[in-house]
Amino acid sequence: MSHFLLMVVYAALVSSFLSLLWRRGAREQSLLFLRIFVGMVGGGLALAWLMYSFPAGPPAP
């Protein structure tokens, strides 16, 4: 599985769990799910984009 796909799956599971745990009602749960999911995936992509300008380390053994 690709890194991105794993990140999306992880974000979906965590967002689903926290929205079910912290909110009652489908509308509130959906909104919280979207906020957490977009925050995790968007934050991950933003961090990756920022790190892109740094030089890569030596290749893994």
Partner: protein, 133 residues
Amino acid sequence: MPGHEDSAAPVPVGNPYLAVILAWALPGAGHAYLGRWPRAIAFSALVIATLAIGYFLDGRLPWTFSGPPLSVLATFGCLGSGAPPIALHLSLGYEGTVEAAGYEYGSAFILTAGLMNLLLLLDAWDISKGRKP
């Protein structure tokens, strides 16, 4: 109107200690015991799926009860999901494969499953005490 608020307030259900023990032993079992079946099924599916993905990625299941504090903490975090990781370790001898491509990701999934279930213990306690509906 005070009387109206009292009638709408959540009421305690079940034994909170039993709810917490069941919630730890099997993800979702505490909520099932408290009669919250839809939530029990959803939480059980989410925690087990997270743990299963970590297992299939060959992530680390730490089993360290002395030594580096962070390793001990990770062990207790992973054991938060109760019987499934214990069964994986004791019956299959599973510890993860450090050479596997998915080792780091899998470790994150396994630890997250444990931490999710620890949050469910608190939720089961609150429901049982009547603090949450």
